[in-house]
Symmetry: C2
Subunit: 347 residues, 2 copies
Amino acid sequence: MLKKVILNKSITMGGIQLVSSKDVAARAGVSQTTVSRVLNTPELVKKPTVDKVMKAIEELSYVPNGHARSLVQNKTNTIALISGPLHNPFFVDTTSAIVKYANELGYRVHVQFINDEQITEAYAAAIENKVDGVILSCILLDDPIFDKLKRMQIPFITYNRKHKSDEWFVEIDNYKAGYLAAQHVINLGHQHIVWIGGPLSVSTYLHRYKGFNKAIEDNHLSLADSDIFITDTSIESMRDVFQELTSREHVPTAICAGSDSIALDAIDIALQNGLNVPEDVSIIGIDNVGISKHQFIQLTTVGSISEQNLGLVAIKRLIELIENKENSCIKHTESVKLFNRKTVREV
Amino acid sequence: MLKKVILNKSITMGGIQLVSSKDVAARAGVSQTTVSRVLNTPELVKKPTVDKVMKAIEELSYVPNGHARSLVQNKTNTIALISGPLHNPFFVDTTSAIVKYANELGYRVHVQFINDEQITEAYAAAIENKVDGVILSCILLDDPIFDKLKRMQIPFITYNRKHKSDEWFVEIDNYKAGYLAAQHVINLGHQHIVWIGGPLSVSTYLHRYKGFNKAIEDNHLSLADSDIFITDTSIESMRDVFQELTSREHVPTAICAGSDSIALDAIDIALQNGLNVPEDVSIIGIDNVGISKHQFIQLTTVGSISEQNLGLVAIKRLIELIENKENSCIKHTESVKLFNRKTVREV
DNA sequence: CCGCAAAATGGTTACGTATTCATTGGAGGG
DNA sequence: CCCTCCAATGAATACGTAACCATTTTGCGG
């Protein structure tokens, strides 16, 4: 039987300083258990002992190892955020709010910015580290990930989009948003209106489009198939759309965009093509993202009445779930209204 | 001596399914060691065994526990990103690039968006989880954090800003940027120029301001103390600045902003105050953030010649450090040039 | 001054993985 | 047919922490 050799870990090994609670314990002349107590339940430790330990911690510049803690507690204080790309200003607003709020409550957030195709890998990467919860936007109506998440028993919530099962989501009233957007441009006299939206496999775009369509119907306007553009929301597709539009004899007078991001891209390309907004073409978005208020932009749009950030709403609910302050299924839909600014005008 | 009781962990405990490599091993009829080998060095395992194990993994929907792995390997595949707030478009660009690149190389990124005051807590939260590296922007010229990071032996890099020690940074040539910005407005005939920048305890603002000052001197222009605004970069301060400016008898004809973010805020407030840009006042920024190109904005600014994203440059270098492909101290300064757009005009 | 409860502290183990070392089995050469 | 060597697998351990249970110390009433 070999004799066990005890290494003094406070000695630099391989250039990397490893200090564990055992080292602190040795230095302070107490047990590792006591060190742990000093950090977690100091009220159970006599003051002189606390001081000794704190001194040792200071001297060794000890930092507890979160991984070890996560392992034993099966609690990571980490949330995975799977967001859409930041070139979409909607996700700028939500990411900012989510990370800030979670951090304030002591959660680390590890983020991924993905496109729809990458969701499976993203999800795999996310749960490998046994996070306490997952907050995600990029989910399709008919996404197998949803059931996997449910089976995993990890608290999760989708924001902005939802799954066809109609569970665990935070959204705005997308149908009404689409309706209001269309109704607004119709009220201002537009007759030839174009829809530019994202894939209908996404709840957000689908319901907004349906609402848009209903408003067109209710007002007895006609809508040609060629006036519906279902794009992948990339800036290149937007360029293609405008190439198509500007080559027509009658350019439409108004564009309803499926989101503010699409609207902003459309404006950018319109201006590049020499079309002024709103003089030559009116453009309305949906989401009321932060930057839409900028004086340079003044985007007319539809958004949540409360002007609450959807990401913030979602992260609050998620953390309630994690901390068991809430356990019923979350189904949150914000009412919407028009934000009348400068990118739509009367004809 | 008590007999050890073996729990079958594949049974649901407390509503949460815990599956470990031991469970997989039991199910496949092999040892835990073999399961580990199948996942990490499958070439050392006979094919039939690999198949058995993979089948068990599938059936139990086993996911390896990253925390346990990190603990034993002392490698986390995680990077901490301490960024400035996302309402600053510069950090939108960098965060996006950093997270995307790191994810592609298999690193998780946990992010924090902070203001300068919060750096100490942010740093503590970051290293508690023994990350492989830290990438941070919000560092002051004279920040004690810097030495702590060095002592910690964790690879790290600062982007945008640097520490007074002139080590481990990625930046643009801020001095020249300030100079070019000033020179440009001077070339267009402006005589009364105002500087609006952030705190001089930040390398970026300090050097940009110095460059600006030098250009003023070189052109024999005068500069009153009241024409220098050193703000905390908040939108409220910007409002105060404009309150001051518009109350003057002679409103300056040009504003050199310490960053694009400041410039964009300035434009916003200027327009709110009924000042048109550039008709009533010219405004130039520094950074050349992505959104500055937007047709609605067309911000005149100074930025990196290569137009490479600073965050991307930084994360690439950081990962080289982590993977030992690089070990000399990183000191990266990008050359700059003027991006002449629409927010500055001749007088 | 004793005894006993409560406070304070310590010893041991589990968490889930990768690694190190030990063991088994089979192929191939003499 | 035996010995050697290598491929394949397994057993035991370490990583750093919190939790559980055990032990020691303190305080206090009688």
